[in-house]
Symmetry: C2
Subunit: 283 residues, 2 copies
Amino acid sequence: MKVIKDPKEMQHLALDARRQGKIIGFVPTMGYFHSGHLSLMRRCRKECDWTVVSIFVNPLQFGPREDLETYPRDLDRDLRLAAEVGIDVAFVPEEKAMYPPEYQTYVEVTQLTRGLEGFYRPGHFRGVTTVVLKLFNIVQPDFAYFGQKDYQQLKVIERMVQDLNIPVRIVACETVREPDGLAMSSRNVYLNPDERRAARVLYRSLEAAREALKSGTTCSAGLKAVIWGVLSREQMIRPQYVEIVDPETLEPVDRVERRAVVLLAAFVGQARLIDEGFLEMEP
Amino acid sequence: MKVIKDPKEMQHLALDARRQGKIIGFVPTMGYFHSGHLSLMRRCRKECDWTVVSIFVNPLQFGPREDLETYPRDLDRDLRLAAEVGIDVAFVPEEKAMYPPEYQTYVEVTQLTRGLEGFYRPGHFRGVTTVVLKLFNIVQPDFAYFGQKDYQQLKVIERMVQDLNIPVRIVACETVREPDGLAMSSRNVYLNPDERRAARVLYRSLEAAREALKSGTTCSAGLKAVIWGVLSREQMIRPQYVEIVDPETLEPVDRVERRAVVLLAAFVGQARLIDEGFLEMEP
């Protein structure tokens, strides 16, 4: 596996691969790989001729009071894991190469970013869309793989790709979970054993909502009450939001008519975790 | 010459051309061609294997009180002229294909857009950078040709290309002028004969500044006084701004030390015209 730091060199290589008619697959990450990342990389490897993973903790998507400094990093381990999967290139740019001092260009998706994560993390999605567009231009992918755990991010990126006519196919991959249901996240490393145990209720609350829907509760208010109920039984959890929204527009729905998605964020100790789960009416 | 309306079809063709190893040249325009456009297209044709001109009056770059409605259009003539030059494809998208109702993604260059045109036309450059990025993604050019008359626009686009790692080379082309010096512009059509005559002083004022520099006036205040002096002798001209700035940062300079650029905007009747001229110290 090649390890490339220089964006120009990466782009040069990617344009070469394109010219050779290779199908380029891309997995953008902030590193500190878990099984979720690995499953994205494996799928990418299976579906594409030439595969690139980027590892870049993007300062632009962190707020001033967020965890940029403490975000977990282990580049050596990440590179070993990516190589084991069979990824062709790891792109690991430095901050000053991505954002030189005179840097001043930003990409914004205006509607889909208003609520949910966008509300609690102002500026976050502007950082995400800007870096993802840069990475797309550098890596020139035909296919790019994103986890569904960051559901709003996925929808924002899909929107950007469509609006800006970017010739890339976004591949959404299901959230990978621990055996007890906790969504894989690099931030899970922040949890101490008690917090880790408590964090199970995030997924349990989603399952409880699914059960309630099956038993006939279709109104969002009722389903949200079920979720808050489960979360509140665990003292270590401080939920930030629980919303039931349309899977495409991310607008809150009053009632689950066919398909909706629950999106939630909660603090568990120092860690801020998010999760997602579809609610579907049986056909 | 192929005429294509559908962005997807245009992109498909462009990606094909790229795969065939063709060097793609691109001239983005708002149509109503004059010799400036033609010289961009001729140069593009000379330097590239496969050439595309786009004709799209981009509503996003017009302010609410500007001339979107009256902006001159003559598609048939434009297509004939482009075909005569030997352009391969004219891309003429419709507004609803470029900005469907759910459209919500914007690109912004934050610093270079603050003054000059950006100050008097708020939102203008956001419209420009957004549409140019879209067009680049659709047309996939290796080289893109821009006139220097819209000097700030040129610098803003160069900045965007560098910041977002867009794999395109921006080719800046000298302003093409009428025999009496008036910079070619589609908006010159707004001028009645008296206004047309009056408009000559824009270029004359730039020449007067060059003369003054040659005679030893290097301070911007003195040079600007010369320019305002020439402009004010013509009653039909209402200058909006005259600035002497660094050619790269567009920051005002106090003194012409090596190379600076004069940028000015003025109303002549209903028409708002801009012009530019370099000021250079003899070596």
